[in-house]
């Protein structure tokens, strides 16, 4: 079976990468191919990596509060290049923003307290 390829991307200028790294490692330990972008990635950098690495799933981590400004840019760029990965988001995202994010194409927003198991199961379920 082909391994699921995941890109964990840190968007925005903040350096809070604990969550992104824990999730990346948990996904890798569960048998997925995981690429981590490192911090401070622009939407364009993320989309370029997503295409180069031919990923199935894109996990966006953001804690700076700039998600409503930055996510649409990523989705736009992905659409323009006809790439349609499963897109997930995590970090500090107020629940009132979730509907807006989901309607623009983020499949699920995982909040603080989510287990890595939930994320693994969700990805396998969606892409399995």
């Amino acid at each position: 079976m082909k391994k699921i390829r995941v890109l964990i991307a840190k968007l925005g200028l903040d350096g809070h990468d604990r969550g992104a790294k824990v999730v990346a490692r948990a996904l890798r330990d569960s048998g997925m191919e995981v690429i981590y972008t490192g911090i401070r990635q622009t939407p364009l950098q993320i989309v370029n990596t997503a295409i180069q690495e031919d990923i199935d799933c894109l996990g966006l981590s953001i804690l700076s509060g700039a998600h409503l400004q930055l996510f649409p840019k990523i989705i736009d760029l992905l659409e323009k290049r006809s790439k349609k990965p499963l897109i997930l988001a995590g970090g500090i995202i107020p629940s009132e923003d979730t509907p807006a994010l989901e309607s623009m194409g983020i499949r699920k927003v995982f909040g603080p307290g989510t287990t890595t198991r939930e994320i693994i199961d969700f990805i396998r379920n969606e892409l399995g």
């Binding site: 350096g15 911090i39 509060g65 890595t116």
Partner: protein, 552 residues
């Protein structure tokens, strides 16, 4: 020996019978620093403990019991809430509100573009302006930020690292405009670049040139701002990134040693600058572990300074620190529980002898805190200070068999890490080899697994959950701020003396290459209203930019 024998007897005869019938809750009790916790501590656990050598008196070597002789009987700790949002005007209002509420020091949070040296108009700043702190582009913003705040009367802490020299220069310039003698300025700049590579991530330049900037600031303030703490060596972010309490302690002090080494290369006497070093720790939930960590930190730093650098001034041996309750211990679930966590943590920080304290607000796992939550957080400190009675005697937990034994163990374990780092060639080398980053990532991963398999309990998250709808609020950072800030910047560039700006920027470039202290050149540029983006732009060009490794 008598106690040991008696304890053995008690274990064999009394304890065993009970355990046979009712085993303990866990097979093995260990804290997250992997220190085994015994069922009972007695004087036998502190054998070899020499009160005068290991504890001593407060205000005296090795400062285990505190850095001042009177501690909180003389003066309470500084209640310092970290705040800053939106633009300078809005933050200025929040500062005045906090000062009116009885807060005794300011703590400035800058937005991320400011922290990594971009003007509000930079493309990477899009969406980030004014979000996690105040947006500062030039001296004009800084003048607004401290409008009607008398800089000779407040002490100000600024969480700024890579572009620290620029923000400090702006603060000095504002003080001069207020006619305040700069030698009277009191406060702290974080200016701890090493932990940015390890944990916090707001670096700009590579480690070596960054260390030069840090050193320039230390050297400059030691001459002109004698009451300024030029650096706040921070374990907080190391801990928040996942380190254990012992790792936090060890890596922070190891960073401190690296800074002392770096400044010594300027041929200064350690007693001329080490007394102004300050520290910044996190405080988490394991109450006694935290108290022991603070006590061990003081003792270990004092010993290291004396043994490694032969300092003479007792102030060079004193580890003074700020504490913040642990952001990562807060839960988005049942957020009111966070009030209790914060109170418990704050209590440990006070029993650990902190010099200043920030208490987190209950809603910080969800968003930036609301004014109401900030008030509860501040009141928590006031209740501990004025109602609990713990501030009435110095270091009240000293002499507890458990606390003394744990203090010893934490000091030993931290020292073992410091020796490992020595063997790697010091902290800079250890960071470059990514040894420290890996240690922290490992600890973060292990803790997450323990929470998931319920070895560690997080109330409301993996036990005692509610079927509540998660409430979350959004702090209204005005979306217009970015536009307003950009506009203000454009106006500034139209009205200032641009030739002068060019000249001062050129001078910074020259100073970078002639290896002189950069502070005076930066101060000139700031006074000419050069922007952070312009100054950092030159520095990026001349010093290079750091790229992290992306191994997981």
């Amino acid at each position: 020996m008598k106690i040991k024998d008696k304890k053995k007897h008690w274990e064999d005869n009394v304890l065993k019978k009970v355990l046979d019938k009712h085993p303990e809750r866990k097979k093995d009790f260990k804290n997250l620093s992997k220190i085994r916790i015994e069922n009972l501590y007695t004087p036998a656990d502190t054998e070899g403990f020499d009160y005068l050598k290991d504890s001593g008196f407060p205000g005296d070597f090795p400062f285990t019991r505190g850095v001042q002789p009177t501690m909180y009987r003389g003066r309470l700790w500084t209640m310092r809430q970290y705040a800053g949002l939106g633009d300078a005007e809005e933050s200025n209002k929040r500062y005045k509100y906090l000062l009116n509420q009885g807060q005794t020091g300011l703590s400035v949070a800058f937005d991320l573009p400011t922290q990594i040296g971009y003007d509000s108009g930079h493309q990477l700043a899009a969406g980030e302006v004014g979000k996690v702190g105040v947006a500062i582009d030039s001296l004009a913003d800084m003048e607004l930020l401290f409008n009607e705040v008398p800089l000779d009367k407040v002490s100000t802490s600024m969480t700024i690292n890579s572009p620290c020299a620029i923000l400090l220069a702006m603060y000095i310039a504002v003080a001069e405009k207020q006619d305040v003698d700069i030698s009277r300025l009191a406060g702290t700049t974080q200016n701890d670049i090493l932990k940015e590579y390890i944990a916090r991530g707001t670096y700009i330049f590579p480690p070596l040139p960054s260390l030069r900037l840090t050193t320039d600031i230390i050297e400059y303030t030691s001459k002109y701002l004698p009451r300024w703490n030029p650096i706040s060596i921070s374990g907080y972010h190391i801990r928040e990134a996942g380190a254990t309490a012992v790792q936090e302690l060890a890596f922070t002090l190891a960073d401190g040693l690296a800074y002392v080494d770096a400044v010594l290369e300027r041929n200064l006497n350690p007693d001329d600058f080490v007394p102004r070093f300050s520290f910044f720790f996190a405080v988490h939930n394991n109450f006694f572990e935290e108290v022991a960590k603070f006590r061990a930190a003081r003792r270990l730093w004092a010993r290291l300074m004396k043994e490694r650098f032969y300092v003479q001034n007792p102030k060079s041996m004193m580890l003074r620190f700020h504490t913040q309750t642990g952001g990562s211990t807060l839960t988005a679930q049942q957020p009111d529980n966070n009030i209790v966590r914060v109170a418990l943590q704050a209590f440990a920080a006070v029993l650990g002898g902190t010099q200043s304290l920030h208490t987190n607000s209950r809603d910080e796992a969800l968003a930036l805190p609301s004014e109401d939550s900030v008030k509860i957080a501040l009141r928590t400190q006031q209740i501990i200070a004025y109602e609990s009675g713990v501030a009435d005697t110095v270091d009240p937990l000293a002499g507890s068999y458990y606390v003394e034994s744990l203090t010893d163990q934490m000091e030993k374990e931290a020292m073992a890490y410091i020796k490992k780092i020595d063997n790697l060639g010091g902290m800079l080398a250890a960071i470059e080899k990514e040894v420290i980053q890996k240690e922290i990532q490992n600890s973060a991963y292990i803790l997450q697994q323990k929470i998931e398999n319920k070895e560690e309990t997080v109330v409301g998250v993996n036990r005692f959950q509610d079927e509540e709808a998660k409430k979350s609020h959004k702090l209204g950072v005005d979306p217009e701020i970015e536009e307003r800030q950009k506009q203000r910047l454009a106006e500034l560039k139209d009205t200032r003396d641009n030739e002068l700006v060019e000249k001062t920027l050129d001078n910074i470039k020259k100073t970078i290459h002639n290896q002189e202290n950069l502070m005076p050149a930066i101060l000139e540029a700031v006074k000419a209203y050069a922007t952070i983006g312009e100054i950092c732009g030159i520095m990026r060009q001349e010093l290079g930019e750091y790229r992290e490794s992306v191994n997981i």
